[in-house]
Subunit: 336 residues, 4 copies
């Protein structure tokens, strides 16, 4: 379904070239003065059009708030917002109405629903992630009051590790010149989560974070702490010994990635999300149409070389939704 | 929380050395004759004590069904079952009442709840996964009627790829002799899921599968299709071109791992789960106790060298719960 | 929370005098051509301003659809809509910013959230029910394909039974002349629900219907079948004997109101909802302000004499949301 | 489905004459010493066999706790319990395997599931309510720490108001002698709920309470505050004027029943639940069997004259589940 979260909930709607995308945030605590500039800044980081290597679609992604905020302060009731699709050019996609783009959701939507809004990927477009960023920016404003901060960054692009923004631009430029697209990895670090957040068994913090991250377009893998490398390690290599200083228990290392038994241990929560290369290639591909006829497809519309620059604020946002929800769940049980 | 699923739901309870573990399966279709032998066989695959390399605890893991089955047939009402903890030896754990085992959930449970049932890990013990296997075995009996089959297997142990059971035993034996524990990878393949299963945005099939798999004890990473390797590939290397034969659309390759845009495309669904080494080492480790005093901890109780042999049926079971739930969700909308 | 339903879900937002009210309908089956006129007609029945006895606020309650409909047909993705608050006159309410209107939600919202959007009742205003009517009208278009129809009508107003619209207008006029407000009862009949819909125990059909109806502003009571009269009857007076004709089992009477053991039995589902008199009286009342000072309050804004004429389509809509959700839940289990 | 609640959740299982009934309580705060005697006392009040006018089935309804309690204290993990069906006499019901008892769930279960566990009503039996009482007794132990108390009592039986237990016994005896069964009303008062509990719109406190109460077997109606009488009153007759004393706002009257706009106002929460007469009559009734053949049915098994004596603790328990859940929901948002 299209709702994420238990207590801090985002219900998300909209198609890439329909009238608008938007969301409803339910569970927002009352009395918080909203910092609209921060929301805009988060959106700007996700926004297309910031360099030659990302999609040229230019949208003034200004969310229009419709409820839940009174005189600049949250009321505790649902915060609904929409972002109008001003720069939609559905005619770019007319040729694709009946053709299935490989590695996209065209065929699967047709299989599921019998037909689809084909314009720009419709509901499956990454444009929808702007909605998550608005909700994430709201969640972060609550988390900040709780001492929690979230920071994500590209840590690999294609087959290269990334250390700086210059690094990243160089790798993206190389791919663009090669007439291809690339994937990459986004690393996310959450600081300040107190020990005790997360639930045993199905509500493990890593379980919720994995669900959140794998719901982002193009995500193919999730890991936390030592992740897949842990599979290759010996137990003695990844022990996080406890020690105690000034009455505070902590770990000497952080192989666990800040979570043990599904529950935060007070260390930084560290996770990585792998993204596949952009599916729309700047070259013709073979495919079939709705009637099963083979055909060749040339991409039109506006597309990025690599998803990871724009994925960074989306990863941060999904982390924020998860962590705040988990904190609220934990606090609900602190009785009396 | 301790419930998994939306329409086919497992509510799971129990501690490792409490009176019993068990679960309640809600949403089971009525009129299905239960194959109890298959449940036992699934449980036997997860059961400890089958070789020198796995925990020596011997439990007769016979689930006792308490409801929802009448004259051997499901009634459509909740199926509750319990597995009594017969071979519990809580005294093995008395020394650990106040000590925090590294990489376990001891400290985090104390931080969350103020105290814990320390016996054998309590609720955080992998013993709980037996409950998932019973529920998974029930789900599989429904899936079978829908033409879906699920098969998981160890594909890596420590830093070695695994091709056969002999391979696996050799690697485990090596670790045991080295006085250490190892991690590994379980690969899972789901066949027969029709195209169209899974939901857009937050309900993506990979999102639900990731949540399911990351809730298994010791899981550190999840990927599907090309997974983390996709991050290193070029777009032109991982195109799944569509073709058509006898009126049926399919893909020439399966980089997508059977899911596109969160929805199944009719190809095999392929995923991999990374598990860390067993946290309890057969050697002393440094840690602290509840009062912050440093201490040395020697493992007692019965412990495995590697989690993956026993994780295989758990991975299959979680996949079964996810896939059946997604199919039921999809079918609920097929109106009229 | 602000979401209703499990499989057919309405997430509802908006304040009476904020920018807009609206909703997101998730779970709508794909491929249904939307009859927008019917939605408008349902809204018109709920709309204020249709006679001297109802609120004079005139809104052009035209829902603006933002997603989930492509070329007039539902796509299976969330249908978001908003209704802009064009005729808002927040200045009417300035005097009430700090005063607590008796029998309204002013004090309780302040107690819950620390402050409130005081304009016209904010989130607590019955204006919000327009959102339910849009969602209900969508649900009815699905139900119609399943052979289900829903009809509600005023059956009492004040202390008089109501048989016709002329009856109702007479009673309302009498109350208006008396300078008072009155309550009443809405009866709702659902025809065509097949036997077998509804869930045992907590998901009983009457349980869901009661939750739905009691969430409508000013509802004070719910009953189905014989309802409160059943409490006064002898068992032998309310037996619904089964009989059989042409192979179809049915009941000779319908004391049960179409539901037995929480599950529909194929007879008409009959329920009644009691509404209290409009809380805002056309005369001064004593109350206190936020600081605890006693004060007198004179109603401003635009208010009805009686809620029931406008409640009728809201009752129908909530019934539609419930029944469709229950049917979808039932169908999800019909495997294979 | 068979789970009640959002944060304090009861998952309920079991058939009247199956191996056991029971439940899983999830969300119980940790660190609460369980008063098992109080649970037993609550169960004893619901228990059959306490007088000539209630069912003669004698069960030692001793709940067996399987998890979530360690050394007498709640651990924060799910509390599972079962009550074994010791005094089951399924042979009493053999004659009813194919016959549909009027006003029972026999026909509707067959219509829903294709067949049913016919023994004593199976899942539809009121025996299941013992599970709710165990969970309710746990919830009350949390509520007590929050200053909340719940008290229910029979306020009408048949067509007579009830003031005392002697009154009630007299009315029941009269019905028993008349060879008939009767219905009645249970009134429930919740004291000590602070102002601000409950959610706007769909999560209104009365909405949750109505859902809870209408899920009890034989409940036909729910009302709170003035309830159905409010429909007959004038607005000026049911104004709850606010006043203020020692800085505390309160109401001079309680027509609202302690809830305004879906949210508690600090006054007593008062509600009434109407129950129909026991469906099983001590005389033959006409009905049909599964094959549509007309037949006569004579009740066997053990049955009450009136449900309300035993319904009282069930009403209290459902109120406790609701109120605690709402309080936890409210507290989860109190950030920071």
């Amino acid at each position: 379904m299209n709702t994420f979260g238990t207590l801090f909930r985002l219900t998300d709607f909209g198609e890439s070239h329909g009238p608008a995308i938007g969301g409803v945030v339910d569970g927002m605590p009352a009395g918080i003065r909203v910092d609209f500039d921060r929301i805009r800044q988060m959106l700007a980081r996700r926004s297309p059009g910031s360099s030659a290597n990302v999609s040229a679609r230019r949208e003034n992604d200004e969310p229009e708030f419709m409820s839940g905020i009174f005189e600049g302060v949250t009321t505790g009731t649902p915060i609904a917002f929409r972002i109008v699709n001003r720069d939609a050019r559905p005619e770019d996609y007319e040729a694709m109405r009946d053709k299935y783009r490989p590695n996209h959701a065209d065929y699967t939507y047709d299989a599921k629903y019998g037909f689809r809004d084909h314009r720009g990927g419709g509901r499956a477009s990454a444009r929808e992630t702007a909605v998550r960023v608005v909700a994430g920016a709201l969640a972060m404003q609550v988390l900040e009051k709780l001492g929690v901060s979230i920071h994500a960054f590209p840590s690999a692009a294609g087959n290269e590790a990334i250390d700086s923004d210059a690094d990243l631009q160089r790798v993206l430029e190389k791919a663009r010149k090669a007439g291809d697209t690339i994937g990459g990895i986004v690393t996310c670090v959450v600081k300040g989560v107190p020990a005790g957040i997360g639930e045993p068994v199905f509500g493990k913090l890593q379980s919720m974070l994995a669900m959140a991250m794998m719901s982002i377009n193009a995500a193919k893998g999730f890991e936390y702490g030592d992740g897949f490398r842990a599979a290759e390690m010996r137990g003695s290599e990844c022990v996080d010994e406890f020690c105690c200083e000034n009455g505070k228990v902590y770990c000497r290392s952080n192989h666990s990635g800040g979570i043990q038994g599904g529950i935060s241990n007070g260390e930084d929560i560290i996770m990585r999300v792998a993204f596949k290369p952009i599916a729309t290639l700047p070259r013709p591909v073979h495919t079939v149409d709705r009637n099963g006829n083979e055909c060749v497809l040339e991409a039109r519309g506006r597309h990025d070389v690599c998803v990871i620059p724009r994925a960074v604020p989306v990863v941060e946002s999904m982390a924020a939704l998860c962590i705040l929800d988990a904190i609220m769940l934990h606090r609900s049980r602190l009785i009396p």
